[in-house]
């Protein structure tokens, strides 16, 4: 090789490529029941039990695996669909009975339930899968425990088609907790064949190769790029889905996702920011569905270990100085459910979440602050998770401005995602922070259990009240039909209104944009795309 040759070759190639013309894309036929969806995140595993599996990957557990039971669907006021917490329906189980003392549940599996490899779904598979959820630890274990499932001995195989689940105490959360994405049933024979001494639960194998009975199989997974589902025509868990193939593409750029849905090249853009939702909803190119997320609130937490916030007058002054309406317009873009301005401090409804009895009233806020021991004001950092900056940043700025008007100087403290959990939820030392906890199981007591008990993970405020603790302990497992339930929940809500460790800003929505022709889009508490109900 000499220099002349190099020069000549280089010049030749560059001109050749530069001269390539743009050509119009050949029409991509969306026929045969194929749907293309785009998401902004990445899937990191096909196995929900594996430690380190991220939230977006729960979608695979939803679509590819079955659970014993699931929830029915209800139509919301705006005509959109959502799961129905009050209606538990069969998925793999054909029927179930609950013992008179409500301490055990016995499930009979559908006779025609088959895994993809044709083998029948048995009670042994159910037990192996539930044991696995407990054994691999992490989030699946925590979530199983929420329903009272803590030890493998609680799952008893009676025969091939019957399994009994024993509970330490009766709980209204037990049956709903069998609908959660982690309570999946895995083909234990296929999985065990791949297990090794070092990996007895076949975590390496199931990470890349799902073995289930669900409505969809994973046709291909190109990590970091796309996931392709193909329908299981023999699905016994419910009505066979309308769509044969579903392509879920990972498109990180918001602007690109928006261009794709507006052009109509994709049929679903799952989970879009409120700003896009507002703008797309105003146009005609896509239909936008915003479903209120049950049992979830965006809140400002006041840490009661921080001196000024020990004073009830200061907490109320803060609640009166927050510019709720402006926040709702500028941070939520008007999409969500307002959670301020209730008429009475005495709740009359057990619905949760519900508006708190505070509204922006600077005069009253100043008066409350004057009554407190901090009449001259004070300085406080307001912390938020950078990963949630889309709503936290505008919210924090508006709170800063609002509190500044009554003499509380707020500084902003942005914390990177990887440190957020440790700083906010474990150490619980941040004086003032924005938080977004939502409970999967939709009862008020469940929300209070996670966020109003001393030491509870989401109680970043370090709130501690013996009466509230007692009320939560009493109601957590109590049936909602129990006559004792309602008065206790009303009392809990009243305490939350009065003590204000968490000041709700609004109830968020899950927003998605879709082709006007797409039907069956259903909101689920797990906030993942359920492909099984979609049709075009």
């Amino acid at each position: 090789m000499n220099r002349r040759e190099i020069l000549k070759t280089a010049a030749g190639t560059s001109l050749g490529v530069a001269a390539l013309p743009f050509l119009k894309s050949p029409a991509f036929a969306q026929t045969g029941g194929t749907l293309v969806a785009v998401v902004g995140y990445t899937f990191n595993s096909l196995d929900i039990h594996r430690p380190g599996t991220n939230r977006p990957s729960y979608q695979i557990a939803v679509n590819v695996y079955d659970r014993l039971v699931t929830f029915g669907t209800r139509t919301l006021a705006d005509g959109s669909l959502a799961y129905d917490y009050d209606k538990v329906i069969p998925e793999l189980a054909e029927k179930w009975t609950i013992s008179p003392d409500r301490k055990s549940m016995t499930f009979t599996l559908k006779a025609n339930a088959r895994f993809w490899d044709g083998s029948p779904v048995t009670a042994h598979d159910v037990k192996w899968s539930f044991d696995r959820a407990l054994a691999l630890g992490g989030f699946p274990q925590t979530q199983m425990a929420a329903g009272g499932f803590k030890r493998p001995q609680q799952f008893v195989v009676l025969d091939d088609r019957t399994i009994r689940i024993d509970l330490d105490h009766p709980s209204k959360l037990a049956l709903p907790n069998l609908t959660v994405p982690v309570a999946v049933v895995i083909n234990s024979k296929a999985a065990r064949a791949q297990a090794t001494a070092a990996d007895p639960w076949a975590a390496e194998y199931l990470h890349k190769t799902p073995q289930g009975s669900g409505a969809y199989k994973v046709e291909r997974w190109d990590a970091g790029q796309q996931l392709v589902y193909v329908r299981n025509d023999d699905w016994a868990g419910g009505p066979v889905p309308a769509l044969r193939r579903i392509v879920v593409r990972e498109v990180p750029s918001l602007a690109t996702r928006r261009a794709l849905i507006e052009r109509g090249d994709v049929q679903l853009s799952f989970q879009i920011p409120n700003k896009d939702a507002k703008e797309l909803a105003a146009g005609k190119k896509a239909r936008v569905v915003g479903s209120p997320i049950d049992n979830c609130l965006y809140v400002a937490c006041l840490n009661v270990n921080f001196d000024p916030f020990k004073d009830s007058n200061v907490r109320k002054a803060v609640a009166m100085a927050i510019p709720y309406e402006q926040i709702f317009e500028q941070a939520a873009f008007g999409r969500g459910v307002p959670m301020w301005g209730a008429k009475s401090a005495q709740p009359t409804d057990t619905a949760w979440p519900q508006p708190f009895p505070y509204r922006t009233d600077l005069d009253q806020a100043r008066a409350l602050l004057a009554k407190s021991g901090f009449s001259k004001g004070f300085e406080v950092p307001l912390s938020y998770d950078l990963g949630e900056a889309d709503w936290c940043e505008p919210t924090a700025l508006l709170i800063q401005e609002g509190l500044g008007r009554i003499g509380i100087k707020v500084t902003l403290d942005k914390i990177p995602g990887a440190s957020w959990r440790t700083r906010a939820l474990i150490e619980k030392k941040l004086p003032f922070l924005l938080e977004n906890f939502g409970g999967w199981l939709n009862t008020p007591c469940y929300y209070f259990y996670w966020s109003y008990i001393k030491g509870a993970l989401f109680n970043a405020s370090n709130y501690d009240d013996p009466e509230v603790k007692r009320l939560i302990d009493e109601t957590l497992h109590m049936e909602t039909s129990d006559p004792g339930y309602r008065p206790r929940i009303l009392k809990l809500i009243e305490k939350a209104f009065e003590d204000l460790p968490r000041i709700p800003l609004w109830q968020p929505t899950l927003e998605s944009a879709m082709s006007p022709k797409l039907e069956g889009y259903t909101f689920w508490y797990h906030r993942q795309m359920d492909a099984r109900s979609l049709k075009i």
Binding site: M1, R3, I6, L7, S14, L15, V17, A18, L20, F22, L23, K24, S25, F28, V36, V38, T42, N44, R50, P51, G52, T53, N54, R55, G137, G138, F139, Q141, T142, Q143, D222, A223, G224, Q225, Q226, V247, R249, E250, V251, P252, S253, A255, T256, A259, L260, R263, D265, V266, G387, P416, G417, A418, S419, R421, T422, L425, I426, F437, L457, F458
Partner: protein, 339 residues
């Protein structure tokens, strides 16, 4: 001295650098704020489950034990597993590095194809319209951020005109990824005889490569112009003109060849820079490249992925520098590299 010996010598010289990089990246990733175990255990995890994940990741061990383990697995070519993608880092790198390289190389070829002629013309006809055009292009290329150029191109060519394909990555939705040989789709698809996939890969590349080319055009064009002006004013060219050589011979054979050295140096710098800096282009075009991988790994304190990325880049830079040095000897016989 034989070429093989020279290459061997240069690689040997790089070993201390790479060893240093291994130590530094190991320590730096540990200094990142945040706790990966807590991050990956998810918000609802208990103390026990976080401890369990920490143990699985080996993060409960003293730092030196972690380092010894890291080096031990490094020796057998195991870079560990990325927790954020769930894949072994070697697999991630093997799929993402070619994606980035393919994009960057095509962009550079495009960029050189435009910038060098532009720079030469601008130098030959100083202050003419070509020179002004060169100035405008250079200023625009430097001052427009790549994500902006990318979005503008997507807006016009995809959103408004519909000429460009969907910006959804390396292949359109119907094309099937060809069997992997090199990881470069422009090579693998034709090798597999899959012409639709090859065509799709080309089409998907045009917009992102143009975006990146616009950005890299500026330094190359400027450097070419400056080097050409210098060469044109030199005595040997006056001599060449005096000897009555044709204009073409003077320009291409004498002036341009002598102007090559600084241009190649710039090219090397631009290449290494854009390989790491095209994160924003990758995001806009959903390109599964190395830049966005590294950024996501950093955000999640994903130690193995960050270490793997830095190491891969270090090796790549060593190789690149070697290639440039070899290119020098081909361009200028006076340059010698020592083994």
């Amino acid at each position: 001295m034989g070429m093989a010996l020279i290459i061997f010598g240069r690689v040997a010289q790089a070993i201390p650098t790479i060893l240093g990089i291994i130590v530094v990246t190991f320590l730096m990733t540990r200094a990142l704020p945040g706790d990966p175990a807590a991050f990956f255990a998810g918000p609802a995890a208990t103390e026990a489950s976080i401890a369990q994940i920490r143990a699985q990741l080996g993060l409960d061990q003293p730092l030196w034990v972690q380092f010894v383990r890291y080096v031990q697995s490094l020796v057998v070519g195991d870079l560990g597993r990325s927790i954020s993608t769930g894949q072994p880092v070697t697999v991630d790198l093997a799929s993402r590095l070619p994606a980035s390289l393919e994009l960057t190389l095509v962009a550079l070829v495009l960029s050189v194809g435009v910038a060098v002629p532009l720079g030469v013309l601008a130098a030959v006809r100083q202050d003419s319209w070509v020179d002004q055009l060169c100035r405008i292009v250079v200023t625009a290329g430097v001052s427009l951020p790549t994500f902006f150029t990318g979005l503008v191109l997507v807006y016009f060519f995809y959103y408004l005109l519909g000429w460009a394909p969907m910006p959804v990555g390396r292949l359109d939705l119907v094309a099937i990824i060809p069997p992997r040989v090199t990881g470069f789709l422009l090579i693998d698809a034709p090798l597999a005889g899959d012409w639709p996939a090859a065509w799709s890969a080309v089409r998907q590349l045009i917009l992102p490569a143009s975006t990146l080319a616009l950005f890299t055009l500026a330094p190359i064009a400027r450097m070419t112009r400056a080097a050409m002006i210098q060469a044109l004013g030199s005595e040997y060219l006056r001599t060449a003109r005096a000897c009555g050589l044709s204009r073409r011979t003077i320009l291409l054979t004498y002036a341009l060849r002598n102007a090559q050295l600084p241009v190649v140096t710039t090219l090397g710098m631009v290449f290494s820079f854009s390989l790491g800096a095209n994160v924003l282009v990758e995001k806009v075009f959903s390109w599964p490249g190395i830049g966005s991988y590294a950024v996501e790994a950093l955000v999640a304190s994903d130690y193995a992925a960050v270490q793997g990325f830095v190491l891969a880049m270090a090796v790549l830079f060593v190789m690149l520098n070697l290639l440039i040095d070899i290119a020098y000897t081909l361009i200028d016989p006076r340059v010698r590299i020592d083994g």
